[in-house]
Amino acid sequence: MLRPLLRLLAPLALVALPAILPAQTLVIVTGREVLSPVPTLWKNDQSNREISDLLFLRLADLGPALRTTDERAFLPRLARRWTRRDSVTLAFELDPRAHWHDGAPVTPADVILSYRRAADRALSPQLSTLLGRIVAVEAEGERTVVVRFREAYAEQLYDATYQAPPLPAHLLARVPPESLATSAFVRAPVGNGPYRWVGRTPGQRLELRADTTFFLGRPGIQRMVQLVVPDGEARANLLRTGEVDAIDNVYGLPNFRRVERLADYAYYPAPGLILGFAGFNFRDPADTSRAHPLFQDPLVRQALVLALDRAAISKASWGPLTTTPDAPLSAIVGRNVASPPVLAYDTSAARRLLARAGWRDTDGDGVLDKGGRPLRFRLMVPSVSTPRVEMATRMQEAWRRLGIAAELDLVEPGTYMTRRGQGRYDLEFWQPLQDPTPSGLVQSWACAGIGGSNVGHYCNPAVDSLLARGSRAGAAEATRRWSEAVARIAEDVPAVFLYALVYGTAVHRRFTNVTIRPESAWSTVWQWRLRPGQALPRDGQ
């Protein structure tokens, strides 16, 4: 039956003729659309960051090891060199060749504008917290920017360069700061990086073209097209048919093992900044002035963690390379900070802890209870996140076997964020994009973060003290203090830590000199090259 049908439709294939294109092209597919790839406008989104990093350079980039405290490992970008004038002052000399895509030179005014936006609490509450120790950013002559800090600490260079890449002051000086997010600039950003903005078809694709005058070297790939395909099966098909050259995370695809076997693609595992956990609410969702009736007890929290084979649960959804931390450590941060001992999967130990805490099934309904209260809670999960819904279902089943009744609260993202912000949940399945430094932990795991990113109200002054001491210390001591802080957080079990993503980026073998930066997969695309004789019709021959 299939053959006649195919014969019937065969004439449609006549139009399938190759075309000739002028440029070497890299086609990438992703599941999430890039909406605002402009520095200071995004914070927690990997897709925005990856495109932003192609358009906008920083003064300096983290070295390949991503050690935020190692000043010698930073790579010059817009600044061709920097000098330390004293323990609280850094001076950056801008590269005179650096220019914006409209031809204007990069000036200290650009650096100052971006810093001011980031430091404005009303515009960027999270960035302003992170950059709180910068007291001034000033121009000195036409090419020098001086950054002054409140105190001496190991991450000064990181703070001065990472969070707020410069924005073009000559284009944005007249745009009211609060209007940048809705300005025409966001729809057609003018950057200074290796690629310039060409355009976007909403919901479908965006296109960048190489800046042939890029001052650090002419990009080898002249055109980059990013296709937006939310459906995982369709993304996998694009790889199978060779319609795309690269994908950001093979392990995010359904049946990723079949995709992994495609011989045309090389796979680059890279630790990521994404951390996944189910965070306990330490406050009663019905009355946030009271402690949570279940989760105030550390024995219950520990038992809930011990009851889960977290490694199996996360690998089933995120692939074999994904790691399971016991503390808020993404795979990148976990490389530079010692991880605490593992709370291993042990259902017997979980049962013992619950019994010790007084939980027994007194009425024989299969659910543990204590003082007439069942061990029942709701796990809030964003319904649009298939991996999280899958994992939550497995967690629910594992808990059920121990007499713990977890109800899944699948809600759409707007509702999720609202209830998260208001503390109206028991347990929430969150997946933040971490900063590459442990000093960023203050946002979600320090008492000071309550009212901001610390929605669960976890608070341990000892952790705060260790994080603060780490942030003020020199490199070696900082690592020690951060490790101690992370160990304390792990002991407190403020969340069921599930996964630290390790990406499997796939790139077609027709490209060479491929490197994948863990924190921003495509930021080195300008250094990639097409292998001789490997051009396709889409590249132009």
């Binding site: 092209t25 999270q126 909403p202 098909n237 707007g414 509702t415 019709p537």
Partner: protein, 199 residues
């Protein structure tokens, strides 16, 4: 006749107003803050959220919001998408051609193949071909559409490669250098907007 026409017009107008009102009410009854999605990638200060609330009219009483919504609909203005910060009408217009193409093609295939096969079967009613085709058609009809869709995508996009496996596209004809709407692939050039292709 004119009375009948007037009655039908009044019914249509009432239905339209009810549908529009229902859309407004259902959106307002849905749990969650419309601005909450914005804070997912970019935490916002309370004063910024208040400013955005005012910008989108969300700080107004419900009746005022409803009035503004109805007035906008009357002018063909469906408001601004909070997530994308673009007029909703523009977003719809951008997607409409693909929707029409998809729906139109499905209808066209449905009618031509359906009528053709139906006619063929009618002329051979009760015959072997009719019986077999009835079985095949019933089996296809009984298949879950999501599964059938995956199978068809696999056959026509992955195996035969007649069509792109994702996105709205068609082969460029005649072959042309890539224009702003062109989508290069390993097998040639797909155009995001079906004919006419960029020239």
């Amino acid at each position: 006749m004119s009375g009948w026409l007037l009655r039908r017009a009044a019914q249509a107008a009432l239905t339209f107003v009810l549908a529009v009102s229902l859309a407004f009410v259902v959106m307002r009854l849905a749990p969650g803050d419309p601005l909450a999605r914005l804070t997912e990638d970019r935490p916002l200060a309370p004063e910024t959220l208040a400013r955005l609330r005012a910008r989108y009219g969300l700080d107004q009483p419900l009746a005022a919001q409803y009035g503004a919504f109805l007035a906008g609909v009357a002018r063909g203005d469906l408001g601004t998408s909070i997530l994308r910060d673009e007029p909703v009408t523009r977003l719809l217009a951008e997607r409409l051609p693909a929707t029409l193409l998809l729906g139109g093609t499905a209808l066209l295939l449905n009618f031509t193949i359906g009528i053709g096969l139906g006619t063929w079967q009618a002329t051979r009613a009760g015959g072997r071909g009719d019986r077999w085709l009835t079985r095949v058609v019933l089996a296809t009809y009984a298949m879950p559409s999501f599964w059938l869709g995956l199978v068809l995508a696999w056959v026509f996009a992955v195996e035969l490669r007649w069509f792109p496996s994702a996105s709205c596209a068609t082969r460029c004809w005649p072959p042309t250098p890539a224009g702003p709407r062109a989508w290069p692939t390993s097998r040639g050039t797909w155009c995001c907007r079906p004919p006419p292709c960029p020239s």
